[in-house]
């Protein structure tokens, strides 16, 4: 049955890109969650929606338009969120919903529209063309390699930005790197997962892993594994039960979170009982 499932070209493409995106988002999610930057992932996905909509109406390659636009917005959103004086979260909300509205307008105004808005918002497994897959794999590899290369610096900047800056680490550069890698990951994943759901891929694995893992390295390994397993479960169940892929992956992530959260609570209670006894 699984053999039959992956005999389809579109399923193979979904599997390859989905696994890469799951890995990238899980790893980047740790720093984003800990730095209180998770809003940026959400904002970027909305901007990505607007960019994809415009690209499809103009008949341009979706990734070629969305990647630069979203990376550019990442610069903007980071600037905005670092200057808390002008209410960073409100500004991100304005940019995000603004881009969403523009995307919806563009899509509904264009007569020759072939794809449903629904597909953009909640994802479609058919979205990936063969040429997209190559670009996606190359970009995702770049994200993973950069993350691995700068892992220790990203940890230092995430754990204690003041100390990092005092010892000569350019915190601004690494925050920007984080935002750019997130932007690329969001764009790669959003057509399959949907603009509304892609940021859950950033949040869930990291937060789930943090229930039980208490070191940064442990959280990274655990989040990556959780993310890959949940993606596989979501993909298979969406094929078997004909459910939307993006939503299925998120539901798998919710289950994983509940399991980890229960174990954490149980552990806490057991530890509490032991210390009383």
């Amino acid at each position: 049955m699984l053999g039959e499932m992956f005999s389809y070209g579109f399923m193979q493409r979904a599997l390859v890109v989905g696994l890469m995106v799951s890995l990238c988002s899980a790893l980047l999610g740790i720093s984003l969650v800990l730095k209180r930057y998770s809003m940026i992932g959400d904002g970027l996905s909305h901007v990505g929606f607007g960019a994809l909509a415009i690209a499809s109406v103009l008949g341009l390659s979706p990734l070629a338009v969305a990647v630069p636009v979203v990376v550019g917005s990442a610069f903007l959103l980071l600037r905005v969120s670092e200057r808390s004086k002008i209410k960073g979260d409100a500004a991100i909300g304005m940019i995000a919903t603004g881009a969403l509205a523009i995307g919806v307008m563009v899509l509904s105004l264009s007569k020759g529209m072939t794809t449903d808005i629904n597909n953009y918002l909640f994802g479609s497994i058919l979205a990936m063309s063969a040429s997209d897959v190559w670009l996606s794999v190359v970009l995702a590899m770049a994200v993973l390699i950069l993350f691995g290369l700068f892992y220790r610096k990203l940890f230092a900047v995430t754990f204690d930005e003041t100390f990092a800056r005092a010892t000569g680490l350019s915190a601004g550069f690494y925050n920007m790197l984080l935002a750019i890698l997130t932007a690329v990951t969001v764009v790669l994943g959003m057509r399959m997962m949907g603009a509304m759901l892609i940021s859950s891929l950033i949040l869930f694995p990291a937060i789930t892993a943090m229930r039980l893992c208490k070191s940064f390295h442990g959280v990274a390994v655990c989040a990556a594994i959780i993310s890959v397993i949940c993606f596989m479960l979501g993909l298979v169940s969406s094929y078997l039960y004909n459910t939307p892929t993006g939503a299925s992956v998120v539901v798998a992530n919710i289950f994983a979170f509940l399991v980890f959260w229960s174990i954490e609570k149980l552990r806490g209670r057991l530890a509490g009982r032991n210390s009383v006894a």
Binding site: L34, L149, F150, R152, K153, F155, A156, F159, D160, T162, F163, A164, R165, A166, T167, G168, L169, M210, C213, K214, S215, F216, H217, G218, V219
Partner: protein, 233 residues
Amino acid sequence: MSLLICRDVAFAYEGRVVASGIDLDVNEGDYLCIVGENGSGKSTLVKGMLGLMEPCNGKISYGDGLNKNEIGYLPQKNPLQRDFPASVWEVVSSGFAARSLFLTREQRLAAEENMALMRIETLKKRSMMELSGGQQQRVLLARALCATRKLLLLDEPVAGLDPLATREMYEIIEDLHKNRGVTIIMISHDIATAARYATHVLHLRHEPLFYGTTQEYLRSAACQTFVGGEEDV
């Protein structure tokens, strides 16, 4: 030549001057204690010395082979870090993060040695979340030592610690100063300790009320007003 020199330094936030007229010479082997009430400009001066904030007047310079980025810094307690998943080893070795992409063998050995100095070598694999306040401070001090062995800048190192952990922390700092030749700058509002360990005192209330050796400080008017006569050190 001094490690760190401040000449008529002033700092301002959005045009409002919070500290001014600061002259300092920190020499190798000094133990300078910067005292003052909350909001007296101490933490601002720290940011300036670390190069995180530009003075609006005057000049801060570094000498004697010390670079701007070679100050080991122990920050004030940061509530954000309380739930941060990080092992002791990850935090200590992050003191080297600015130097290289990957940890070298020498750095690994130095990190081990610094953990031994702080008496935390048995905690290596433990999570920061599971440690007591005193243990956490020693981990962060080990990280600072990884960044440098020349000059440590300690911002309220004993804030929130119980008396036993406080004493242990002061002893460790004194050991670094006396036996390892580390120059210390410590921010504190604890005059009694300043008098006991420090070689020099800067008393700040937006501008220096006193700057000189500890012996002179104990006889000065600034000291008398701060202590309020309640402590006879």
